[in-house]
């Protein structure tokens, strides 16, 4: 099992956000997590990535058999956990290629491989830029500074393509994209997805699932995964709304 989450309870400040999440993700799978605003989807992704604002009060998260919560945020990243941010931050004066080269080389160092020098990295990254259909000038721009919403999302996908994570968590990477950008983003995800890695898509809409075929779909309501199924669940959620699953959850209790 690549990611195994059991009975996860998470709190930020005084608010209990996750109330017993269970989730199993095998290598080679694509999962989609859907749910209304405020249900805790971003929190789940952030906790797996190691965001310092959240406190795990109960439960376990195992990654490739190891206790993930024991690892520091940057160690998790070097171990192959990647989060595409819902709201990527701006970093003035640090270029996209600088950030990616540093990140990529940290990963190589952690694996005992030689670092790439700037020219070698440039060759490597230019191939990746094609995946997301961006102008190579993009590499020299400061990270996310003056990027449009769509560019920020593409940039997250570019970083994912460069870092080739084993577990990619994508937090609403599809929201706010026009159809061309959505295709580009989907294409990036499909290129990454393979037998050795897994993708967890956090999304509001089933629209992206027309381009990225999920193996499993989960409905999250109020800090819990209340229903899991195949692609048909996404259609059902879209048609009947989250109230429907929420009610089902209520009925089940």
């Amino acid at each position: 099992m690549l990611l195994e989450i059991k009975n996860l309870h998470v709190r930020a400040g005084d608010t209990q956000i996750l109330k017993g999440v269970n989730l199993n993700v095998e290598a080679g799978e694509i999962h989609a997590i859907m749910g209304p605003n405020g249900s805790g989807k971003s929190t789940l992704a952030n906790v797996v990535a190691g965001h310092p604002a959240y406190e795990v009060t109960e439960g376990t998260v195992r990654y490739d058999g190891d206790d993930l919560l024991e690892l520091d945020t940057d160690e998790r990243a070097r171990d192959g956990v990647f989060l595409a941010f819902q709201y990527p931050v701006e970093i003035p004066g640090v270029s996209n290629s600088q950030l990616m080269r540093q990140a990529y080389n940290e990963r190589r160092k952690a694996r005992g491989e030689d670092e790439l020098d700037p020219l070698q990295f440039d060759d490597y990254v230019r191939e990746k830029v094609k995946v997301v259909d961006m102008d190579p000038d993009f590499l020299d721009r400061s990270v996310n500074v003056d990027f449009s919403g769509g560019e920020k999302k593409r940039n997250e996908i570019l970083q994912m393509a460069v870092l080739e994570p084993r577990l990619a968590l994508l937090d609403e990477t599809d929201s706010g994209l026009d159809i061309d950008a959505l295709r580009v983003v989907s294409n990036g995800i499909n290129q990454l997805a393979g037998d050795d890695n897994a993708v967890v898509l956090v999304t509001h809409y089933q629209r992206i699932l027309d381009y990225v075929e999920p193996d499993k779909v989960h409905a999250m309501v109020d800090g819990e995964i209340v229903q899991s199924g195949g692609k048909e669940l996404a259609m059902e959620l879209e048609e009947r709304g989250y109230d429907w699953v929420a009610k089902q959850k209520g009925a089940a209790q």
Partner: protein
Amino acid sequence: MSSNIESYLDQPYEAGFHSDVEMEKLEPGLDEDKIRQISAKKDEPDWLLEFRLKAYEHWKTMEEPDWANVEYDKPNFDEITYYSAPKNQPKKDSLDEVDPAILETYEKLGIPLHEQKMLQNVAVDAVFDSVSVATTFKKKLKEAGVIFCSISEAVEEYPELVKKYLGTVVPYTDNFYATLNSAVFSDGSFVYVPEGVTCPMELSTYFRINDQHTGQFERTLIICEDDAYVSYLEGCTAPQFDTNQLHAAVVELVALENAEIKYSTVQNWYAGDEEGTGGIYNFVTKRGVCEGDNSKISWTQVETGSAITWKYPSCVLKGDNSIGEFYSVALTNNHQQADTGTKMVHIGKNTKSTIISKGISAGVSQNSYRGLVKMAPSAEGARNYSECDSMLIGDRCGAHTFPYIDVRNPTAQVEHEASTSRIGEEQLFYFLQRGIDEEDAISMIISGFCKDIFHELPMEFAVEARKLLGIKLEGSVG
């Protein structure tokens, strides 16, 4: 997490050691007799003694100013020693007779004075407490016609030049600390680049305060004749004492027609400890005049040290089409206070000035930018662009901006931009999530923030500056 950032910035002060060197000092305190003694020790001509005495008389009528956004206990001028020099003074041009303890001091600071060990292409004048102890690469410079020596030596060897320019940019009446400096200055550097000469190497002065109770009052004078060019660098450190030492320097630059002076500073005076005890009071007057048409003066400073910094490197743009530039990074941490900025005084036609100021504040420090852009009635078509960016680390520090604009010519244009940002948890999380550790993340963020300034520094200094800001360099320099 932000407390981690702070502890990362709180790296120990590596230059804080004190060297045991036998010194010859005057008794603390100041009166006319002391000034005569300083002048006598240096065998000075009468006109210079006159200059000092006039300054002293004027100083007695002045009050210490308090308009800056800094708070400190005013120095007790009776407790300061105004002259302190290593006893074992070298003969000119020979390093062999410099006290080995002094050579060792500079070696430890990474500034070896022996030419074979030195940085290629950087000539160094080393000032230890009150006096210059060594100037390197003198011969090579002389061949090019460039004079680079201590100001004491210049008074002896080139009295006409010194007399012609000393006090013309910063008059002895200028301000409290400049006036005090005019009365008691002991040494500093002198540079003269004759007409048409591009100085073949970077010139650098390294200031070291060693003594606990000595004020450092150095005086630097740089003159670039028509079509000449020089790049001058200044570095400074001091030992760690729990008392405050006063550093009140005056720097004067004169650029004649088509001349260009590039003046860079990496200031790393001791800043005091985490509780705010000790550290240097850095009250400095730096000013350049673009006397000739098409001349240019450019100030670049990286200010990381001192308990209190109070300085405004300025340009008086007299010549038509002359250019003034000010590029600054000021970092304050713990209890440090900095009130720094620039003055651009436009007098000539079509004069241009650029101000880029980056303030980084951490701990409980206060960081103020104060700048004046003045367009005189004669400044037809003059332009200024100013940009002041502040970065806050943690939420107990402060950043302030005081831009003063005075435009008296309707064709002049002034543009001012300002921004404030904070290294936040989200920014750090972004780096960590990409596998970059916190130390590298902060380095990259700060380095990115200061990029435009580092770009202006000569390469060796850019490296030192990055290191100073705790930055591990990734990729290419400059």
